[in-house]
């Protein structure tokens, strides 16, 4: 009985031309037995075993490279047949001892229902019908040994399946031979996509020689705020202050704050004015070296015009037509890029002039001295702008970088032929660096024909598996975000003018991760303790509010109730962390699970 089942299982794996090419198993430290992953969700700290289903791989490669299309077609037809056979044979192999006739008839009914589906498939395929008729005729012939019939539970089906399995194996061998002759190479690689980084290459033992990443274990129980949380909280406090300022003033005022701080604009304006005047009066000023001075002044004027044009973009933007912070980000990028090469280009112009003119010309010297002073101002402005960008844009716009080389397959990934392909690859998730719930791992099985190799093409991905990383069962995590707080009652101590006030907030949340339900993990409800620091009395010193919070959608939405310990009044709050920046909205959630 066991033998028949074993044969069936082998057969099923053999014929699954569209089946799984990679089976994923998970091991963790609480259970030694590898667990097959059926729902695409894996424990975030587990070890993964990627088992290559070689017998499925062969027809898949054959199908992809068009090797032996007739054989592949036959295997596909067998696949249609085989899908329900495991169940069918399990039923046939039931132990009947001690069962009443009625119970046996019930079992026959279940079995016949399944066999009926199987027969329908066979009857729709003349070739298969002929084959099964021949198997049955052989099984029931007088020459067939009786003890063999008993081995198959006195029914032809097990025997027919074994015959079909043998035939399939022979066909697979022939396809394998074709693949081997065509020198097809197989590669397996994996990438980690986190919220901060896309396509980070990760090491798959047996399949590449990438280094392990940083060791990082996502802790199951987070019971206090980490140092990272505290830093995030401080940064969020600044962001909340800025946002409260934005709510209080108009975006235009903020742009004025930026503009007034940029000293280099007026410096370069003055310099340009002096250059233009000198240029106009050059014939009177320069009795010698007129040509060299003209070229110098002309080049300087052009360079100044360029930089002033960019600085004026900052000056002229009104913060109304576009999102002020995004526009500012765009302009400052342009300015920073330009300013990196601006001093060297000016130095080049000065050097060219000095090579031509050895004597000192006071008007030119004056312009060069002014340059030195303006360049210093520009450097200070760039520092200010960079700091402002860090305070605002980086916090507001989700940052996601693509790892160097992206998904490009490096030389570190081994190429195998079908004959020497390892049975399995292993990934130790703890050695893949920082990651969090909802991140995913992409596993790709790629084949390369000789033509692909010769032309240095990337080959064809024949299996792509996406595994979502998740802490399973109950866990806790910390979270820092911005909330909008609204006091329930207005006491003398509460002095805010607006209904809501932005405030930084830190939460310790309990959550439950599912191995099965992606929607649940996506909704990701959390319940926990919250601490926030609003400034209801507007004395510039944040108060401490303590309360409870409920979050959903990976903490994008949060609602809670707190009590302000200084102003003695309760308040409710909500947070909406959107994945894009919109002025005036509380944006971005900083997840800060503790580092080890």
């Amino acid at each position: 009985m066991k033998k028949i089942l074993l044969i069936t299982l082998i057969l099923i794996s053999c014929i699954q031309t569209h089946g799984q090419l990679i089976d994923v198993y998970e091991t963790n430290y609480t259970s030694e037995k590898p667990q097959e992953i059926s729902y695409g969700i894996v424990d975030i700290n587990s070890n993964l075993k990627l088992q290559i289903n070689r017998d499925s791989l062969i027809p898949a490669i054959g199908l992809s490279t068009n090797s032996n299309p007739i054989l592949i077609d036959e295997l596909k037809r067998y696949n249609l047949l085989i899908e329900s056979q495991k169940k069918t044979l399990e039923k046939l192999n039931k132990d009947l001892s001690g069962l009443s006739d009625d119970k046996k008839i019930d079992l026959l009914g279940d079995f016949s229902d399944l066999e009926s589906d199987l027969n329908t498939k066979i009857l729709n395929d003349k070739g298969l019908e002929t084959k099964f008729n021949a198997y049955m005729t052989e099984f029931l012939s007088d020459d067939f040994p009786k003890f063999e019939r008993v081995r198959y539970n006195d029914y032809y089906l097990g025997y027919a399946l074994e015959k079909l399995s043998n035939e399939t194996s022979r066909k697979l061998k022939r396809i394998e031979q074709s693949i081997s002759n065509e020198k097809i190479k197989i590669q397996l690689n994996a990438f980690l996509n986190t919220k901060e980084e896309k396509d980070r290459k990760i090491h798959v033992e047996n399949f590449d020689e990438y280094n392990f990443g940083e060791f990082y274990e996502v802790e199951r129980w987070v019971t206090s705020f980490s140092e990272e949380d505290v830093q995030a909280f401080n940064t969020t406090q600044k962001l909340a202050n800025s946002l409260n300022e934005i709510v209080g003033k108009s975006a235009e005022d903020i742009s004025n704050i930026i503009i007034n701080e940029l000293k280099s604009i007026s410096c370069y304006d003055d310099l340009l004015a002096e250059t233009v005047i000198t240029f106009k009066e050059k014939d009177d000023i320069f009795t010698t070296h007129l040509d060299a001075a003209t070229i110098f002044l002309s080049d300087i004027k052009n360079e100044l015009t360029d930089i002033i044009e960019i600085l004026n973009k900052v000056n002229n933007y009104n913060g109304k037509d576009e999102n002020a912070l995004e526009l500012f980000n765009k302009i400052q990028n342009e300015l920073i890029t330009k300013s990196e090469t601006f001093p060297s280009r000016i130095n080049e112009i000065i050097k060219t002039f000095e090579d031509k003119v050895s004597t000192s010309l006071p008007e030119i010297e004056s312009i060069i001295d002014l340059f030195d002073s303006c360049n210093q101002s520009l450097k200070e402005d760039i520092d200010k702008i960079t700091t402002l960008r860090k305070l605002t844009t980086d916090l507001l716009i989700p940052f996601k970088k693509t790892a160097s080389n992206g998904m490009e397959m490096g030389k570190e990934v081994f190429s195998y032929s079908i004959d020497d392909l390892p049975k399995a690859g292993y990934i130790d998730l703890k050695k893949t660096g920082k990651r969090s719930n909802g991140d995913n791992i992409v596993i790709r099985l790629t084949i390369k024909t000789q033509k692909d190799i010769d032309k240095k093409l990337t080959g064809e991905v024949i299996e792509k598996k996406i595994l979502i990383l998740q802490q399973i069962k109950l866990y806790s995590e910390s979270n820092v975000s911005i909330i909008l707080a609204n006091p329930f009652n207005s006491t003398d101590k509460v002095k805010i003018d607006n209904k809501f006030q932005f405030a930084p907030s830190g939460s310790l949340l309990f959550k439950f991760g599912s191995r099965r339900y992606k929607t649940w993990n996506y909704l990701n409800p959390g319940l926990g303790f919250n601490i926030s620091t609003p400034d209801f009395d507007l004395d510039g010193v944040p108060e401490v509010g303590i309360g409870g919070v409920v979050t959903v959608l990976q903490d994008v939405l949060s609602v809670g109730v707190s009590y302000n310990t200084k102003t003695d009044n309760p308040y409710w709050f909500f947070g909406v962390s959107l994945p894009f920046s919109t002025l005036g909205m509380p944006i971005n959630t900083i997840k800060t699970n503790r580092n080890n």
């Binding site: 006739d101 046996k104 008839i105 279940d110 229902d113 027969n119 008729n133 029931l140 006195d154 032809y156």
Partner: protein
């Protein structure tokens, strides 16, 4: 042609003692002995220990057979064979002689064995 003891030959109707047995039956109405032989062979198999019996009604009477079995077509002249469940519900009626083979006869038993018929 020689048949096993699983095959019962009858004249006009299905014997009552066979109908009263809790087993799967196939009733052959054709004169084609090859088909009877196929059914006799298929009846060798007894999955789940449920007996299979072949009844060859050589000179059948449609009216009487219809009286015995409900759910059959009235005119059985074109009918080659039909299968019956343990409680004599019709499993499958076979009308197409040229295509009948061992697999199809076995399928008639399978249809009779389905849970909806027992």
């Amino acid at each position: 042609m020689k048949y096993s003891r699983r095959t019962i030959i009858s004249n006009t109707v299905i014997p009552d003692d066979i109908l009263n047995k809790k087993c799967l039956k196939i009733v052959i109405l054709t004169q084609d002995e090859d088909i009877v032989k196929l059914a006799d062979t298929a009846a060798k198999q007894t999955p789940f220990g449920i007996e299979r019996i072949v009844v060859w009604v050589k000179d059948f009477d449609s009216v009487q057979i219809n009286d015995q079995i409900s759910g059959l077509q009235n005119n059985l002249n074109n009918c080659i064979a039909f299968s019956l469940s343990t409680i004599n519900k019709v499993g499958l009626v076979m009308n197409d002689a040229p295509n009948i083979n061992l697999f199809r006869v076995n399928n008639a038993f399978t249809q009779a064995g389905r849970s909806k018929n027992n």
